[in-house]
Symmetry: C2
Subunit: 205 residues, 2 copies
Amino acid sequence: MNAEKIPDIIIGRLPIYLRALQRMADKGMKTTSSQELGEHVGISAAQIRKDISQFGEFGKQGTGYSISYLLDKLREILKVDRIWDVALVGAGDMGHALARYQGFVNRGFCIVLIFDNDKAKVGEKIGNFVIEDTSTMIERIKEAGIKIAMLTVPASAAQEVADKLVQAGVKAILNYAPISLNVPGSVKVQHIDPATHLQRMTYYL
Amino acid sequence: MNAEKIPDIIIGRLPIYLRALQRMADKGMKTTSSQELGEHVGISAAQIRKDISQFGEFGKQGTGYSISYLLDKLREILKVDRIWDVALVGAGDMGHALARYQGFVNRGFCIVLIFDNDKAKVGEKIGNFVIEDTSTMIERIKEAGIKIAMLTVPASAAQEVADKLVQAGVKAILNYAPISLNVPGSVKVQHIDPATHLQRMTYYL
DNA sequence: TAGATTGTTAATCGATTAACAATC
DNA sequence: TAGATTGTTAATCGATTAACAATC
């Protein structure tokens, strides 16, 4: 184990390894090599070995990595060896799609609170959860001790909601609004913006 | 203008500048500086100047950048000074959310074809578009000359559909399935996977 | 054992930053 | 003009790759 600060860029690759390894495990595979994993995710074998070795010696010369062991270790490192409660703010189309998404639970997350500021939506159910009013959001998130939120409100409301989330003690925001959020350095933001992602590719067309 | 190959990492930042500039324009601002833009997007002023200067001299010493001029130039560079027709494959919750998303058109994209392999969904309408059967997809995409697709099918079907998209001549895929796609080097893939994005943040919690 | 593959080192490559002359 | 800010250079910093001893 290396006690020094691990670069962000390495942390960013671990979930990709995790996803590929999970898929290998689902297929019944027991071991893999840096070579094989690299082919799956499009990253060089040397880099994968280097990334993984930042955290310990998880492989065996000659045979590679035990998939289930490496999965355990990566989950532990990324702290997804548990289920994180998540708040969802914004019950529009995207919010609904996320609320119904089946893929969260077996990857460490569970949406437990849903908010919207539209009185017409408040009280409505999505799955087992009732949409609550944004006015009670700070209090509700605090009392639930929630640290992670997904933001699917319009751009015009996003910064204001983000400020409230920060106030409520949220430390990680998955932002679907097409706007750069201003938050304290202690709060992590990841941005999902389909148009931006598409624009990264048109240059090459 | 620099004729050399522009690094991928720079191309990836341009859509972020574009989004921030668009927002400034919407607010009625006329000019900005690398300093100001940098504060909005969380990138150093020096880097922004360096990135932009790869493509020409778009600023003025002393006054900075004309927002509308820089917007035009960035759109031109990224080839979003036009509207790209896009195919959407997979009419589940996420597909529906994307089909109804209002944010594409003014950023260069328009969904014009929607496919699903579920016979029960085929024929159904989303907005003005009818969901078509995947069996006719290759042909329909070819005849429409579509180069961009969004993939919102389950992981189990994603690779197969991706292969068909490649066959149909698609050169850019926005992949929502939680699986690394295997495509030829001439085809660009961008991955949107909310669980992966969340896992990038839990490490820091 | 022989073959395979790790973990790690050193070398290379590329990206970011600091600084400043040019100039609006 | 004086102040501001660009575009660019050189220096620094960091990430990736190649290579190989260690070892399963």
